[in-house]
């Protein structure tokens, strides 16, 4: 069987077209980059990333950043703030979202309606409006507390007592480890005994009690190695304790409330997507409503909800850039300050986009791994 001429051979043509298309795309991208760089240079705009090493010249509130440090360091400080608000926000939004999502399906009329009101009112409002509401209308209206108590909620700072580690903490750490091991051993012993004799196991009580006893003895034996660092009032603002700036608190609260309203809907949908027979089977086994939720429904719902959850986690990270509106120095704000101090805008914005891309891809990677682990094996 003779092959057709190459220009009529489908296999050859297919590869040729693909190659031509690839060349076209690469040429297009190269041209765009070259054209941009060329035009920027012609207009005397710097195209290198040297500016990252130049001294920043500005300060960043809430950090010990010095003006003599470089712009690159300033951006890292911003990245840290973004990571903090995102990490805390994701955890809190997830917990609140699961709680509200389950409440949405509660047989209790009041609980169900209250959860629905929460979801519908927050989900349909722009997140920027929520941020402004919490910062301008709530947090800034808090009093300027003059005397610090154990807990401070003022428009100058949010603060709670912090734990400090002092001498002898190593000893206490060893005691804690011993306590944990002992608790685990007792747990297994109670479980085995329960399996063997049917005598009530009370393993939580046994384990926790033993651990608490060991920790208490260890704490005093090591000479009280953990202290309490309480907030104190300075001439301006507060020091000590675990502190949060009002801007950070405002953004965090707004992001958590907003994202949780979306997560609640995902949770509700995922629970409804669990086969009805599963719940009925749990009932047939005589499980309590809580046990049904905890051991049968939620584990299967989690499997369904992970991909959409990842989406909302990503949105929370991206929405944290709205902190610019309330002077929170997260990475977008820092980059914008740098630009106003003559850092070149094209490079700075490209960097900013790259930073968010790394955040998003990291979250996507983690959730993909979790997703793969949780998927049912052997299903096609």
């Amino acid at each position: 069987m003779s092959r057709p001429a190459p220009w009529r051979d489908v296999r050859v043509l297919r590869i040729a077209f693909q190659a031509a298309f690839l060349v076209a795309v690469v040429a297009f991208v190269l041209w765009i980059v070259d054209n941009t760089v060329g035009n920027l240079e012609r207009r005397g705009i710097r195209t290198s990333f040297d500016f990252l090493d130049q001294p920043a010249g500005f300060r960043i509130p809430g950090s010990d950043f010095r003006t003599s440090q470089s712009i690159g360091d300033a951006i890292l400080v911003g990245v840290e703030t973004t990571m903090k608000v995102s990490a805390i926000g994701i955890v809190l939004a997830f917990l609140l979202g699961v709680f509200v999502g389950v409440a949405r399906l509660s047989p209790n009329w009041l609980v169900r309606r209250a959860a629905a009101l929460y979801v519908e009112s927050l989900r349909n409002v722009p997140v920027l409006a929520i941020i402004f509401f919490w910062y301008l209308a709530v947090i800034l209206r808090l009093p300027t507390v003059e005397v610090a108590g154990l807990f401070v909620f003022s428009n100058r700072a949010f603060a709670v007592p912090d734990l400090t580690l002092e001498d002898g903490i190593e000893l206490f750490g060893i005691a804690a480890l011993v306590g944990l091991v002992a608790a685990a051993v007792v747990w297994r012993w109670r479980t085995r005994r329960f399996d063997a004799t049917g005598e009530p196991h009370h393993r939580v009580l046994w384990g926790a009690g033993l651990l608490a006893a060991v920790l208490t003895v260890g704490f005093f034996a090591a000479g009280r190695p953990i202290g309490l660092d309480t907030p104190e009032r300075l001439r301006f603002g507060f020091a000590g304790g675990l502190r949060m700036s009002p801007e950070f608190a405002g953004l965090l609260i707004a992001l958590v409330l907003y994202t949780a309203s979306h997560i609640a809907e995902v949770v509700r949908g995922s629970i409804l997507a669990v086969q009805k027979g599963q719940g009925e089977a749990a009932d047939a086994l005589g499980l309590s409503p809580f046990q049904r939720l905890r051991f049968v429904v939620l584990p299967q719902a989690f499997r369904i909800m992970i991909p959409p959850l990842a989406n909302h986690f990503l949105n929370l990270v991206k929405n944290s850039s709205l902190g610019v509106a309330i002077a929170l120095p997260e990475v977008t704000r820092v980059v914008r300050i740098a630009i106003s101090q003559r850092a070149p805008a094209p490079q700075s914005i490209v960097m900013l986009m790259g930073i968010y891309l790394v955040f998003s891809l990291s979250i996507a990677l983690v959730t993909n791994l979790v997703n793969r682990r949780l998927q049912l094996k052997g299903r096609t």
């Binding site: 076209a24 914008r336 300050i337």
Partner: protein, 373 residues
């Protein structure tokens, strides 16, 4: 099989179109570059032949002035829709000097980002819009800065009932600033030079900043003194009005503000420059809009020369391509520098600014008009 082939062809075609359009775009862009280059050339040309913009303005019969419309006292729009302020009066002065009519002005409100582009593109003849004279703006914005009309500086505003008097009292305080070109830098430089600690809270927008300051989130608000005076004068009565705020007696930076024209318009630049100088010179001579008609008959030959009255038969012509009586026209229309200052931003206005650096050189200020001869 045939349909896949067609699909492949279509994809390849799209690719080709991409490349082609890419080339086209490239071509267009180069053309644009060429045109832009051409434009700058044609723009610089009048400068070489001389006086083109001055002639253009004269023959047009109207001056187009780029202004601010949101800074009380300097350039803002009244409830009646009229432009008013210190900078606006200088637009009128230029119109009176060149065209003999202070009303022959069209005001173009410009944002900070637009202003230099508008000037370069010839959309406005002159920019009088609280623009700080800096080397990089003079050098790379194609702009020419003329005699400074207002010596501004970055200042600090606090609540009137606070005990702060100087920067040292604010050691460790939180300072609210509006994110700007130099505000954060000046603040950091000044505090660190004095070895003081502070936290800057830099907002992108005035409204949240004002809220934060009102609610005591920050001890002080830093911005240009003229801006602070404007904010203070408009402070809501519910918050105690202007009396509730106090501006500290510190100046943290140099911000000379004045008219700007495009590079290469030599005759026009000279004309605007000397009109500004004339207002200052008039104050030095004691010529006001009230006594201008008496001054026309002054015995002083210097005053006679300045007002374009015949000295030994001939009115003095410095060769500025302006009417011999331009200074008299300017003073008659808007008054001398002191009058413009008092009327718009002085102690009797809402802003309540003292002359300070803006006094004449004879009174310890910086306004020192070159001799008119």
């Amino acid at each position: 099989m045939r349909s896949t082939l067609i699909r492949q062809l279509a994809i390849a075609l799209i690719g080709v179109v991409f490349v082609a359009s890419g080339c086209n775009l490239g071509g267009d862009d180069d053309d644009d570059g060429g045109e832009a280059g051409g434009e700058t050339q044609t723009q610089t040309q009048p400068g070489q032949t001389g006086g083109d913009l001055l002639q253009t303005v004269t023959s047009r019969g109207r001056l187009i002035c780029g202004v601010n419309d949101a800074v009380p006292g300097f350039g803002f729009v009244t409830e009646g829709g009229d432009f008013e302020g210190f900078d606006i009066d200088y637009c009128r002065a230029v119109a009176a000097g060149i065209l003999g009519d202070p009303e022959a002005v069209d005001f173009r409100p410009l944002t900070a980002e637009q202003r230099f582009t508008a000037l370069q593109a010839g959309e406005v003849d002159v920019l009088i819009r609280n623009t700080t004279w800096t080397s990089s703006r003079d050098g790379s914005e194609g702009a020419r800065f003329l005699t400074t009309t207002f010596y501004d500086g970055q200042g600090m505003m606090v609540q009137a009932d606070s005990e702060f008097q100087e920067l040292e009292d604010l050691d460790g305080a939180t300072i609210c600033v509006l994110s700007g070109t130099t505000t954060e830098l000046n603040l950091a430089a000044q505090f660190e030079a004095r070895n003081l600690d502070f936290e800057p809270l830099s907002f992108e927008d005035n409204d949240p900043l004002q809220q934060a300051f009102q609610q005591g989130r920050c001890e002080a608000w830093s911005s240009d003194l003229s801006q602070l005076a404007g904010i203070r004068s408009n402070w809501p009565d519910g918050e105690g009005g202007p009396e509730a705020l106090r501006i500290l007696d510190v100046t943290m930076s140099k911000e000379p503000l004045g008219p700007v024209v495009a590079d290469g318009q030599e005759d026009f630049a000279d004309a605007v420059n000397w009109i500004v100088i004339a207002t200052i010179q008039a104050e030095e001579f004691g010529i006001t809009s009230e006594n201008i008609d008496e001054q026309l008959n002054s015995e002083d030959p210097e005053v006679q020369r300045f007002l374009g009255q015949p000295v030994e038969g001939e009115p003095f012509d410095p060769g500025l391509n302006l009417d011999a009586e331009f200074a008299a026209n300017v003073v008659r229309a808007v008054g001398n520098y002191g009058e413009i200052f008092e009327r718009n931003v002085g102690p009797d206005t809402g802003l309540g600014l003292e002359r300070g650096l803006n006094a004449l050189w004879t009174e310890g200020g910086l306004h020192y008009p070159p001799p008119y001869r």
